[in-house]
């Protein structure tokens, strides 16, 4: 690594080599051991010290609890949605089963053909057993 690249990296990432690109850290460490490297890092480190003084506050309890409450609300809603979809799915499966059954019955059950003898109230195994028929025989 040359002085130009070392200075460019210090100007961008500061004086702490842990923030530098991983691929250039080892070469940077070698250069940092020399006088020029020390001087460049010291200069960059001055701004780092100032930046370090600006600390962010930790989240308060109220914010923390609010975030957890919104999570709870969303997760409960999602659980309800999931149950609703499950119910809808089961209803759909039931309906599909009923439809399949209906189709199966329609396809498998044969239609009554014209050569089939259809029973009516007047026909018996003994032929025409109606009172009129008996009377007719007697009149012969």
């Amino acid at each position: 690594m040359d002085a130009k690249r070392f200075a460019a990296l210090a100007a961008a990432y500061g004086g702490d080599l842990r923030r530098w690109p991983e691929a250039e850290r080892v070469a940077g460490m070698d250069f940092a051991a020399g006088d020029m490297g020390v001087s460049i890092l010291r200069h960059a480190g001055r701004l780092d010290t100032l930046l370090d003084s600006y600390r962010a506050e930790a989240p308060g309890k109220a914010l923390h609890d609010n975030v957890l409450r919104t999570a709870d609300r969303h997760l409960t809603q999602r659980r309800r949605q999931r149950l609703w979809w499950l119910g809808l799915g089961l209803a759909g499966i039931g309906l599909a089963g009923a439809m399949a059954g209906l189709v199966l019955v329609t396809v498998v059950t044969p239609e009554a053909g014209s050569d089939h003898y259809v029973l009516d109230a007047n026909a018996t195994a003994f032929g025409d057993a109606s009172p009129d028929a008996e009377n007719g025989e007697e009149s012969l």
Binding site: A8, L9, A11, A12, Y13, G14, R19, P21, E22, A44, R46, L47, D48, L50, L51, S53, Y54, R55, A56, E57, A58, P59, L63, H64, N66, V67, L68, T70, A71, D72, H74, L75, R78, R79
Partner: protein
């Protein structure tokens, strides 16, 4: 981006509705998001709003989140930054309609560290938002150059340029203030 995502398993558990995972994710990400928003906006109340809105998006998308090209942390930072930008834009629109703000005449805090912190905060607000973003991601959020570039959707070279210009601008402002 190469390498395993340290948040992937936790996010999957959040997506499955595990309460312990929700608590762990909040503990892991809330301080980071709040710090990012506070430094981007320079306003604690607005930063809290941004943190809450970011988490609402996380809860909404956690069950469907798939890694793709970005890590979960990168995705979360992008959401938070977009929310910060919305607020900065609204602030600019409001400022053009209103009278310019008068500088706060209140004395700076007594301690040197407090004074420096306030100067840095003001200096950060004075530089270009893209430069501020780059410095916050790399310096304060401790992202690698590749992660920060992915979050900002720019090349690593462009990130380095933003960082250099941002740090130079900060140095100039702070030197004028007598801090650097």
């Amino acid at each position: 981006m190469k390498g395993a995502d340290p948040d992937e398993e936790l996010v999957a558990r959040v997506g499955a509705g595990e309460p312990a995972a929700v608590q762990a994710l909040v503990a892991r990400k809330l301080p980071r998001i709040l710090a990012l928003a506070a430094r981007m906006l320079g306003d604690a109340a607005e930063a809290e709003d941004v943190a809450q809105e970011t988490f609402v998006r996380i809860w909404r998308h956690a069950s469907r989140w798939r890694r793709g090209n970005a890590r979960f942390d990168t995705w979360v930072h992008r959401i938070a930054l977009n929310l910060c930008y919305d607020r900065l834009r609204r602030r600019r629109e409001r400022v053009t309609d209103e009278l310019p703000e008068v500088a706060d005449p209140a004395p700076l805090p007594d301690t040197q560290a407090g004074e420096d912190a306030q100067r840095v905060e003001q200096a950060l607000q004075a530089i270009a938002p893209r430069q501020r973003e780059a410095i916050i991601l790399v310096y304060y959020q401790e992202m690698s150059n590749i992660e920060a570039a992915a979050t900002l959707e720019i090349s690593v070279d462009a990130l380095e340029s933003l960082l250099s210009r941002g740090r130079r601008a900060l140095q100039m402002i702070l030197a004028r203030e007598g801090a650097a």
